[in-house]
Symmetry: C2
Subunit: 148 residues, 2 copies
Amino acid sequence: AVSIRDDARARAILRGTQRLLRSLNFESLSEVSLGNGRRADILALAHDGKAWIVEIKSSIADFHADQKWHEYREYCDALLFAVAPDFPVEVLPADTGLILADAYGGELVRDPPSHPVSPARRKALTLSFARTAAMRLLAQVDPGVKME
Amino acid sequence: AVSIRDDARARAILRGTQRLLRSLNFESLSEVSLGNGRRADILALAHDGKAWIVEIKSSIADFHADQKWHEYREYCDALLFAVAPDFPVEVLPADTGLILADAYGGELVRDPPSHPVSPARRKALTLSFARTAAMRLLAQVDPGVKME
């Protein structure tokens, strides 16, 4: 099957978005598994524990292929899309945040509406984020560590 | 001031201990700042959210220089020391866990007594761990990201 995601483009948007998120005082992690079996492109945690999910769309086709983006909403306090500056943003749902990003940086052009996640789910999300980030960091620092 | 910590030795113990912790299903992070201004050598999070702090001692002098190791106890569910296999372990407090480690791996030779940390502190610890790990991982993956 041919992927409809433009990987190079998605990686560029990812990098710029993570840089932007840092400047907004969010620490972020890519490809985080959620409790519903789906995987968020980016999960970002603010200093106060607030969790944002950012979905990256490399093209209109990539966006239209994802019929289930609304399922991310219940796993975060706010949901955003991140796209390249030339993306036709009018196709994106208006009740989500919007980030424009290239490989060097990004801009938050529409604040996301917030919808607090339940305390139990926030706890599970934060722990999963913590363990995933530490595991990936250790794999970088010690290539000899055993990974399942 | 001359450091009484043998850094090469401490790094070897760190690596072996982190490998051991993974095999025990803990994800771990080195040098984590705690709410009391101190920094844990290793903070490790289990799948159920349980938090261990592991203090590395490269020599007896290194242990004796640390008069405040007990202050770590209130920031974890269990406190352990990790030392090299030739360390005279009888000088270490018996009411802590004990890990022997070299650069290649380690062994948990005494289980730590557990003393559950408060929910509020566990929440703060987990969030701080998550954000620190993600920040360090991003710095590895994207050297161009701005760090404060």
